[in-house]
Symmetry: C3
């Protein structure tokens, strides 16, 4: 084989297209071929960006939880994508986009054990969305769920729960038929993931130490704000692929407008959450502000291509505000979601579906609510069932000894930061104020 590229360098360079590796100069090329290539480049690049969101989720979830569980969170994030992509290859894609629809509920056809290169770009773009839906759950159940049980659950969401909903909305299914609108997945991906996370949290219960004996919630701060923040930046970065890539093509499409609304909504979400938390707690909290970015992104996703720019700011701002209230309300009622995933993805996702109904002509608010309810009921019901069955058989939760020790050691036989000294160790020795009196 021979591998050479000759690219245009300046407007006057001669026309040389196609790889010279074939030995033949592609002298003739049609507009259609070039247009297809542009679309392919756009979709593949967008999907690569979305894939990188896996790193963002891993860091957000690890950074905003305890150090003793960081390796476990990494493992869950690696495995929900890995197991998920194989499941999506085996049957998820077929159930969402296969040849024929079974009553608008799910597809059935020719895509099982997917092996059709002509649909490779499509599969790649869809699988990274499926992985996003799956990975949302990981953070909500952090710190107390058995690794094996998580492994058992994850193929269900990537292979069945999520594909069915995408068939409803994007595969020509019944929600599509009645006019439900969700451009890039505020509901299909994020609310679905958030609601499934809620089911998981209800089954698995709060972490030890999250609540006082009288039920007062206690803060369990994350071990690395910098890693968590980097995760948020990576998610923001990848979200451009998520939203602007959902044009599904570049030729004849406006791929820039979603980039603008995504930027503005994320920004407004950060402001909305920061000021809300500032008013309530007296300080501009770092965690809430970062989650405000994510809430803004989730909120704008449904209407990213059709909202006005001012409208996207409004949507992001409100998403940031309601996320803070949602986090506080859930904590109060005993739902322990260490990273705020249910509020960021579930609550803000629901808001995104409503907002596109209120602010654009693409969607009808009544139908949006019907769709939201249907997605939520399906995602919650199926996830609750699967988690319950796992709980009754394998067990969803580690022992309290394992939980106190940390999942890294008990589940994976190692530690994430074996060289560093931790406050808890020192506190046990009694020779250092565990909280510190004067900062670090």
């Amino acid at each position: 084989m021979k591998r050479r590229i000759i690219l245009l360098a300046g407007a006057t360079a001669s026309l040389i297209v196609g790889p010279l590796a074939t030995g033949a100069m592609a002298q003739e090329v049609s507009i259609g071929e070039v247009a297809s290539a542009v679309n392919s480049v756009w979709i593949v690049v967008a999907a690569i960006l979305v894939m990188f969101m896996q790193a963002g989720f891993a860091l957000v979830e690890a950074g905003f939880t305890r150090a003793k569980n960081a390796g476990n969170i990494i493992m869950k994030n690696v495995m929900d994508f890995s197991l998920g992509s194989l499941t999506y290859w085996a049957f998820g894609f077929a159930l969402a986009y296969g040849g024929s629809s079974v009553g608008g509920f799910l597809a059935y056809g020719d895509l099982f054990f997917f092996d059709d290169p002509t649909r490779a770009g499509e599969w790649f773009f869809q699988v990274v969305f499926a992985a996003t839906a799956a990975t949302i759950i990981s953070g909500a159940v952090a710190g107390r769920v058995k690794f094996t049980s998580y492994l058992i659950y994850t193929p269900f969401i990537t292979g069945l729960i999520y594909p069915v909903v995408t068939h409803w909305v994007w595969g020509g299914g019944w929600l599509s038929e009645i006019g439900f609108f969700d451009f890039a997945g505020s509901g299909v991906v994020h609310m679905l993931g958030g609601v499934a996370a809620l089911a998981g949290v209800l089954i698995v219960g709060p972490r030890i130490g999250k609540y006082d004996e009288d039920g007062t919630p206690r803060s369990i701060p994350g071990h690395s704000v910098t890693l968590g923040a980097l995760g948020v930046f990576i998610l923001w970065f990848g979200w451009y692929g998520f939203n602007a890539g959902s044009t599904l093509a570049a030729v004849g499409q406006d791929i820039a407008t979603p980039a603008v609304t995504t930027t503005l909504a994320a920004s407004a979400g950060a402001l909305g959450a920061m000021f809300t938390a500032w008013i309530i707690t007296g300080k501009p909290d770092v965690g809430f502000t970062l989650n405000g970015v994510l809430a803004g992104l989730v909120g704008v996703t449904a209407g990213t291509a059709s909202l006005s720019f001012g409208g996207s700011i409004l949507v992001g701002l409100i998403a940031g505000v309601i996320m803070v209230f949602s986090v506080m309300a859930l904590e109060k009622v005993g739902i322990d979601d260490p990273v705020g995933a249910i509020s960021v993805h579930g609550t803000a996702g629901l808001w995104g579906l409503i907002a596109v109904g209120l602010l654009t002509s693409d969607a009808n608010i009544g139908i949006q609510l019907i769709g939201a309810l249907a997605i939520a009921a399906w995602a919650f019901g199926t996830s609750f069932l699967v988690f319950k069955v796992i709980d009754l058989t394998v067990g969803m939760r580690v022992t309290s000894t394992e939980e106190r020790e940390g999942l890294d050691r008990s589940e994976h036989g190692g530690e994430a930061y074996p060289e560093f000294v931790f406050q808890e160790q020192v506190a046990r020795q009694g020779d250092l104020d565990p909280v510190g009196t004067n900062g670090h």
Copy 2:
């Protein structure tokens, strides 16, 4: 809605372009539409890369400063982009690129509260540049500036100071008229940010402990070389969008040459800084080497599309060398810039403007100096004024108690790494050598 993609898979696949979501197959597509799509893909992808530089700045600034201020740095970086993009939406873009020019000094016209989808790509590409200029300041004033005061300043640079200069140079203003040349922003973005940072540092003063009683500077090492280095890699990665994206189009443009000069200048900058520091300090210092990469990138930015490849190496090498001397000189005269932002962006940015005058025919050295002087005077004057007014009203600096405690706790009510034990805590207890005698 229905969401399907069909992409070309192999040269023989049939022509199907445009999204099938519309239900209509776009059978006819013009060369112009395809060319526009290529340009859109390129500009949007480039802008996404530049947006990711925000993560790079956040990590460089956090990693190279104290752990007790890491959350605060994250907040400043999130908020200067968030507030900045809303400001740029409201009036920054209008002042730079609005309909008519007020005497070549600033634009005025139809882009206030920007809502024109036909210019979405343009806005997106410009806003990430504006955010880059703004975020440079954050690191220079790290560890002692009030969060609120920083929040007040940041809309001024994104909404006024930077847009005016872009109007001068890229919006058809007076510097453009006289032939000033700055392809991707060595001066317009980086020197401007560096000079504004200098104004901030002069107002806010050095950190407690930076200087001995006799004025001898002391080293305050950063808390995480790995995070700082990751930030540098992210900046390098994003810089390809910054420089090669500044072609503003792909069709008829050479987008590869800027990628090559960017690579070579960054590499040469690393070498130049490493060997300079090695000669002076006796060791190949990690921080200087990493800043050398950034200095090389800043230096090549003005001439990235027109320098010869050998020329770009020369420019990067010199940028790396002078950055080291600049850092040392500033430290000596009492200017405490914790991350070297003034030298990396200001000094190397000035060098970039000069270099393109010396080494290419695009620019005249005299006019380059006039432009550099004008930009520096404007950025310094306006920034100094704004910082001074903030200082006299709200106050620029936290109290010394807050500074010692760390801004994370005093300003944000939390800590970046609450589980880890820090040397300072142990030193206070008197039972561990704070510096260690044998490393870790």
Copy 3:
């Protein structure tokens, strides 16, 4: 200069292509120019993604080794790219792809001190591959090699060892002539790097403390699983550029299929390694699973464009399994490779070459083995020779005092995490259980 973009926003927008900066509207544009632009965008974006893999390598190597050497690893990763790109500019590119071939062994011609803008895209794509080959070695010799010696070696691999092999395979040389096939570099890049790493490890020997007096290997866990994992995610992300970008063009090429096989093989690699380690060690080990991702990626690289999707899963799965056995076998025979680079890149790279011979019609298994042997012999022989000469002159290894102290302090005069307290320090003081009894 004036800088304005007008992009298509919606299918009905008027045709405006090319930058308006030139003042001239490009009213006429040919299909060829547009096709060239698409190819350029694809190759440049792919190369940018591959460049970012440098950050992935840096984090994997730093995260999976000791904290006391983290800054040194950063420096090696920055410098092998920096020095490497300058070397590749000066002569590496010429030796691989220069005008005429010297007997199919190396090229010789017109590309020394590369200065041809028409081949800028090609150079950029190739240099990031060269840097990948070089940086593989860094992790394998981590913790005990002299920084200066590493600096001396790195131009040899980027400037000579790697370019010669690329000439053989991708530059029309003798392996290309006999039909050896390696689409994106399982052998040319990864196995080559892994074998060169083996030569380095054999010369430099195991780290102090790696083996008991009776030769039993001891585990030296890395200092940050989160940074290591982030590195793996970044590598995975960048690998899409590596594999799908190796189409070298977008027009008339299928760029989506390599993205799919890359995704599936990485996923299967993670599973293969996790379950293998689980069976052997009793736990799903984090490090092995992450290395499984990388092994899957390395394995699929040779056949990424031609394997069936099911085939890519098989290739990735086996890559993950054999990587675990390879790591264990090498450790047992006294080869101390702190991050598993020899197994991940060398062993899985060899498997990739074989797999494409077994599973596709692109390659003949006999010729694949001849090629693998030739590449391995060349890479090992030349690297061993260079390392040996360095060892006999400058010395390859730091003193045992320096090694114990950590290379950050001894080689670079600083520490990566100067504010944190480490177990080792506390253990020396005798007042804290160094291992902890109850986790952190």
